[in-house]
Symmetry: none
Subunit: 278 residues, 4 copies
């Protein structure tokens, strides 16, 4: 699939504007910076602008993601950022020869990504997984079989979005959004002893027909094969260009773009990802 060619490097402008209304001061944790692994591709720091201005504190969570703690004041809070990211222009890596680790050869820090998590009930899906995939070839082909299965098993639709939907529920009712596709594929990979972790970030329409839907942050996943983590996207199903990672975790519970400790309403939600002239 991946042609032996060079890709045209590109510049991608990413950003968002989010506005929350809180009835009273509300602590929030924000995971809205470009991931450290892409920081060097930023043309300028991706400052999180907070209006009105409030004190903020940045830290790294246990997965290494940059998070920001603030106390949103009563009233309207606007969060925004815009950044230009340099990108190789290469689509997601495809490595059909990537081998599957047997469990004893998995590095310690991958083992956490074999366990069940809030939205990935490995215990409930284990039997399903082994029935479906135990006869597929090990390694890349097995992950691809899982991704193919999820892509065709689940119907996409924004109307199916639910913050509490789990992999098992996605498998049962066969409907979901990108995060649900990812959760089901993650759970199935883990059941087959392949470490898998959830990713969130920007993904634009570069190289594919433009979507009419409003942009959102995107959810995909990574599987650990042959000593490397590879990106897979069961929703879009084709290697894509210009994936800009924000955060990784066991599932979406770990990488919410905002976690609020109090009631609030989301009044504005805009995300953009555009190719710029280089």
């Amino acid at each position: 699939m991946q042609r032996a060619c060079t890709f045209e490097r590109m510049r991608i402008q990413v950003g968002y504007e989010l506005a929350y209304r809180c009835p009273k001061p509300t602590p929030m944790i924000l995971t809205l910076n470009v991931h450290y692994s892409r920081a060097s591709d930023l043309e300028a720091p991706d400052h999180l602008r907070i209006q009105p201005s409030v004190p903020s504190a940045a830290y790294r969570d246990s997965f290494g993601n940059w998070c920001t703690r603030i106390i949103a004041p009563a009233g309207l809070l606007t969060l925004s950022s815009t950044a230009v990211v340099r990108d190789s222009g290469a689509p997601d890596k495809v490595a059909p020869g990537a081998l599957q680790h047997d469990v004893p050869s998995l590095p310690q820090d991958t083992l956490l990504f074999l366990l069940g998590s809030r939205y990935c009930e490995t215990d409930l899906l284990s039997e399903v997984a082994w029935k479906l995939f135990s006869s597929t070839p090990l390694g890349w082909a097995r992950v691809q079989a899982i991704v193919d299965y999820v892509h065709s098993h689940v119907t996409f639709g924004y109307e199916h979005a639910s913050a509490t939907k789990t992999a098992f529920q996605v498998w049962s009712d066969r409907k979901g959004v990108c995060r649900d596709f990812a959760h089901l594929a993650i759970a199935l990979c883990r059941c087959m002893n392949i470490p898998a972790r959830y990713c969130t970030g920007y993904l634009g329409d570069i190289g594919v027909p433009p979507s009419s839907a409003p942009m959102d942050f995107s959810g995909w996943f990574e599987a650990y094969l042959g000593g490397e983590w590879y990106a897979f996207d069961p929703r879009n199903h084709v290697p894509r260009i210009g994936r800009i990672l924000i955060a990784r975790g066991r599932d979406a519970a770990d990488v919410a773009i905002s976690t609020s400790f109090g009631p609030n309403t989301l009044e504005t939600f805009r995300v953009w990802t555009d190719e710029l002239p280089s």
Copy 2:
């Protein structure tokens, strides 16, 4: 509640014998050593004995628990240990004055224990939690109210044990074992912005009427109040003596005593915890 008195120090013998039969060589992760925070109370190493002998590698997981990786050979595998632990003889600390942190004052490493996890669906229980507990006093009293509620809301019974039961299911069907009591209380604490984490370990009958049920490992939880983690046990509901921690995590998914990557049957399961003459 806690009387201003001194407690008689004691020696507690703990141990287990587990036997698994595997049809073929099966990778396993074992979390069966006394927790590092109690290691100084060990009179001698609590060597994990594996019969037949196989190579093993110890490591600490991301929560700090000591884990051991092995490949169980085909056939019968026996795991056993016995250790003598010195204990203060003091019951679980009771600190009615322990204050609740507001979210901004919580240390970073406690924040993970506010998020949902496999068996603690904070998203599903948030409304329930706020209805039940928003009028209780903050801090220790609120955690105690949650523990009281869980203790009276759920009926204990070994026949209700299920490896896939979640906090929400426990809340709905009101039946469970110690781990389920803990999961429900953890989820409710987190909904109320109180960090809570799952604990597993030994808990004998010291100071309480002996149980007729066969010993098992026990599950309880810790809540973060006033700068400290305190043990709570919604199943037993009274401060207990001689809790010997093995491991901590977000919920039971993180601290399984054994995680097997292949089919096997558990043929022997014995756990003991006995007070010795000091």
Copy 3:
């Protein structure tokens, strides 16, 4: 010494620009992020910017420091960062009443910091240490006596800098830079059974006469007294304001800002630490 007063909180801008030239692709480990314990004081992530952009992976080493692995390409590699850190404005804590632990009461995780290490040969300095300090009062006063001794025994001079100089050599030839002062004091503390660990980070001229020397990263140490780690700085010898920690370890061998696995030349080296208007 520490007056019962409040300090004016301040904002400190810290940063660096380092450029390495490598004749061929060279693996590097970089320890260049603000320490996790200060992360909450960051106004925004202190992204490590790498030019040209190369893949990077962050991890925490066994001391908890954030490290980044990269492969520097052939040619010039520029590493830079800039961050604004909020600071209490308080000088290093002075606690003359801090007691010395007897060895049996030292927590397990401090014991490693009693052992010899690459640049702190406790075995060679033990006799010297006991002769010099066995009659000083235990606790804070003893550490202070060690710091006073090192400060007056060793002459500072950039021309004495040597990457291989050890505490014993510093003691013998009485010349060194800040890291050497720290190593000698660490070794002497350990000889006296006081856990001591090496620290590296930013230290500006706040509250002291500005230095004419070009800024560098600074080296100091921490000693464990009365259940806490306290910062000591035998080079500067007065409690200082605005110490921003990057990493801690047994000695400088553990916390090199960069460890290169191949030849390279350092072409640019700039470090800055400036107080900003708050």
Copy 4:
């Protein structure tokens, strides 16, 4: 070297008797238990007997070794243990095909074993190492070249034993005991970017001509190649049978069988390792 054959399983009795005289109560850390990875080969727990009986506390250090803390009373303290260990009877593994990891592919937890340490001054030996070994084939052959070099470069003699001797000194004066051979080989491996760690344990005369020297604990090292740690013994230079590991660390500073925090004299020192009838 390793014949394609099966080895006769054997039973090895190991033990020691050490007696220390302390003028006053003296805290000690003892690393005298069989390593956890061999615990399952013990026919019975290898209890550390302390006479007179004093309270003891076992814990695992940051390398996973079992340590015991005691306070030796004034007067004579005798430490002893005897254990029977089952052994495969196989000599040290020889894997000439074991590949060398390039630095980027080394697991994180091996990186610590590339750094300098108390007795292994990688900074001082780097040039020597590259001159000697840069033209040798990578991987097993390079480690073997280092081991061969150390074996022939250094002359063994108990009279050369010195608790403060470092790898660089061994290289310079070409004399030493088993620990010195190991330190030099470790330092040279690390200089060549091969993780290497120090090991201490029991090693008897099984399969080799009996030595007339009194038994001592033995020092060897492990190098990380092809995803595994392999034992090498530059002192003995031939694969040996019946190596019983006690502890591992960066060098001998981390795994002293006893670390005393006060003066004392060693009055008895006996170690034994004997093959038993099986």
